[in-house]
């Protein structure tokens, strides 16, 4: 169920707003409108829905309007047109008092440069959202403390922001946003000011927190790797318009247009694609029905040097090599169990390619991709390299 529904949301900065909107209707571009009316189109008719518990990433380069868009959602910037429905209420039409209520109870924001008040302690910062609601001191201290503990800063309550590192400061920003237990978190380039290693830690931590919180999160970023890492769905923005909305896989595998394609060109695919994306359908033999002879025959047909062995439920048992099978046939061994090898290189379906690299160079047989015990596919070196290079068809075999 959508928690946030954004419809036709637009922002035009300038004095000839009406004319500019008309030009937008005619399909004119951002620069053409700037020339014609002197107005800057911040956001052009953005529409999307965000579901409960979803991490929705809005990404684009600087100037694409993503920061304006997130500010239109909680009306830090007044929308020119369109609606923002949160739980059936339109924020864009709301009076000030109701808007304050929604901001206090439903929407919290995390800022790029943390937005912490330097003259307040960490605890007082985390309390801020509760304080403006008029919640009694002890109660808000308690809630703020538990939010700080959630982000791992329980022992820093009496410090001031400038005594903490950037990563820790942003944790405070996150704790402040979580303290009043909002449904929705708006995160504006929340990790962009952090150095890369800390940024990755924060992403992991956010995902970990999200596993237990199930907040609805709108996350703004200019970093595609970050978007692909944390987003359940991603909206790509260009010149104020959303050009594509989809899952990370959608965006990578079916770029909607040239712009998106160029955007994803440089992505480190090994971080995004998982075993499930690059595996092939495996040739197998059934341990209950087949013997070494069948195994050898299959391998010959397919030109393989080994073959995976499963049972009637496709549970992975192991593999046999062509050499062993040939020996077994000569010795008239009928049972595959006797030549079965169980030192199988296994990975789960969602294993990122990056982590498969280490395995694939050490193994003589294809890697088995399993879902629990069941064999789902295999990864051979050739297709792995092709996927890494972004060549050929990357298809989902799930």
């Amino acid at each position: 169920m959508p928690v946030i529904e954004v419809k036709g949301l637009s922002k035009v900065f300038g004095k000839n707003v009406k004319d500019s909107l008309k030009l937008l209707d005619e399909g004119k571009k951002k620069e053409e409108i700037l020339q014609a009316t002197g107005d800057t189109v911040g956001v052009n008719r953005a529409s999307f829905e965000v579901n409960q518990g979803e991490v929705f990433v809005i990404m684009g380069l600087s100037g694409s309007g993503k920061s304006t868009l997130i500010r239109l959602i909680n009306r830090l910037i007044e929308p020119t047109e369109g609606s923002v429905m949160v739980d059936g209420e339109d924020l864009a039409q709301m009076d000030k008092e109701n808007l304050r209520r929604v901001r206090r109870e439903k929407l919290s924001m995390v800022f790029q440069n943390f937005g912490l008040f330097p003259f307040r302690t960490i605890l007082e910062n985390a309390e801020y959202g509760l304080e403006v609601q008029g919640i009694p001191k002890e109660e808000r201290a308690e809630k703020a403390k538990s939010a700080l503990e959630m982000v791992g800063l329980g022992s820093y309550v009496d410090q001031y922001p400038n005594q903490l590192s950037g990563g820790m400061q942003q944790r405070v920003g996150l704790a402040r946003a979580l303290a009043n237990d909002p449904e929705i978190l708006l995160m504006d380039e929340a990790f962009s000011a952090l150095d890369p290693l800390i940024r990755k830690d924060m992403q992991d931590e956010l995902l970990e927190l999200q596993d237990s919180m199930h907040k609805t999160i709108i996350f703004i970023t200019h970093d595609l790797d970050e978007a692909l890492r944390i987003g359940d769905r991603i909206a790509l923005m260009k010149d104020g318009s959303i050009v594509q909305i989809g899952t990370p896989e959608d965006i990578l595998t079916n770029p909607a247009n040239e712009y998106v394609e160029r955007f994803v060109e440089d992505v480190d695919r090994s971080k995004v694609l998982t075993a499930a994306h690059i595996m092939h359908r495996p040739e197998t033999v059934n341990i209950d029905k087949h013997g070494p002879r069948v195994a050898l025959e299959r391998m010959r047909e397919e030109g393989l040097s080994s073959i995976y062995v499963v049972d009637g439920h496709r549970n992975l048992k192991g593999y046999v090599t062509a050499d062993d099978a040939s020996d077994a046939r000569k010795k008239e061994i009928k049972d595959l169990n006797e030549i079965l090898r169980t030192d199988v290189p296994k990975v789960p379906l969602d294993k990122p390619m990056q982590e498969i690299i280490e395995i694939i160079y050490d193994t003589p047989v294809p890697i088995a991709v399993v879902d629990g015990e069941k064999l789902k596919g295999i990864i051979i070196r050739g297709s792995f390299l092709a996927a890494l290079a972004g060549e050929g068809e990357v298809k989902s075999n799930v």
Partner: protein
């Protein structure tokens, strides 16, 4: 040149306006002149009644602590105050201090809210800025004339003239301090559902505090600089000996009174500075 334009009687208009203001607002000016005047004199008398040694001890001990337990300002205050007492200017010092204190307090009471208003509204800023320029550039003597018309002579018109001359820095710095608060912090305050007042008191004023205090320091200094001018309309204090020394060409007496003003200025400056420099 331009003989075809008859001389515009601006001076007459201002005279008429002043007269009109005096008559119309007598109900405001009279109590200010009498009640407020009495109050200020009472304070000056009270300070004068306290034995100088007690005030000296308070000032010196205070100086020691506000400068972070350093002896510099404390020593200077001790020597300076003893010097003034020694020159027989103690009563004048107390009057001047009262005048400066009152003018500064009123400047802050008027200036900070006006500065806040300016920071919140472009229209207000556009209207108030030229008024501030006017207040600061108009020769201070000019204020004295209507001041006397409104409040006759004494401490009250002195404070009135000081108020006009000394308020602008507090207004300007308050405006500046609030405008300097970063957009992101303002957005943070708003995003969490602050009301306008909450944003002002919980974010903007605390953030602007240092800048506002710097403005107040300037205000105090400007109020002090009005002391001599105010004494020309009968405000008691250290300005009086300066003016009478000028009239009688007594370089020595003028110097002694001048030095006393400088000593007071330095002590007040360091005191107010220490408030905004403290973190």
């Amino acid at each position: 040149m331009f003989d075809f334009i008859p001389e515009i009687p601006v001076a007459d208009w201002v005279d008429d306006l002043t007269e009109w203001i005096v008559e119309t607002f007598a109900f405001i000016f009279d109590p200010l002149k009498n009640e407020f005047g009495d109050f200020i004199e009472w304070i000056a008398d009270l300070l004068g009644a306290i034995p100088p040694i007690i005030i000296m001890v308070l000032v010196v001990v205070g100086a020691f602590f506000i400068t972070g337990k350093k002896f510099g300002l404390a020593a200077f205050s001790l020597v300076g105050l003893i010097f003034i007492e020694n020159q027989g200017l103690w009563t004048e010092l107390m009057s001047t201090f009262t005048l400066v204190l009152m003018a500064s307090l009123l400047s802050v009471i008027v200036g900070v809210p006006v500065g806040i208003l300016m920071s919140k509204s472009k229209v207000a800023e556009a209207i108030i800025l030229p008024i501030l320029d006017f207040m600061q550039t108009m020769p201070a003597f000019v204020y004295l004339i209507p001041a006397v018309a409104f409040f006759s002579i004494g401490m009250v018109p002195g404070i009135f003239a000081s108020l006009i001359f000394a308020t602008p820095p507090t207004v300007r710095f308050t405006n500046l301090g609030i405008r300097q608060v970063s957009t992101e912090l303002k957005e943070a305050a708003e995003a969490f559902g602050s009301t306008g007042a909450q944003k002002l008191f919980k974010l903007e004023l605390p953030m602007a505090k240092g800048t506002i205090m710097a403005g107040i320091n300037q205000t105090v200094m400007l109020a002090l600089s009005m002391v001599v001018i105010a004494s020309m309309i009968g405000a008691p204090g250290l300005g009086n000996p300066v003016v009478s020394a000028l009239q009688r060409a007594q370089a020595g007496a003028g110097f002694v009174a001048g030095i006393s003003i400088v000593i007071l200025a330095i002590i007040m400056d360091r005191y107010t500075q220490s408030i905004y420099k403290k973190k």
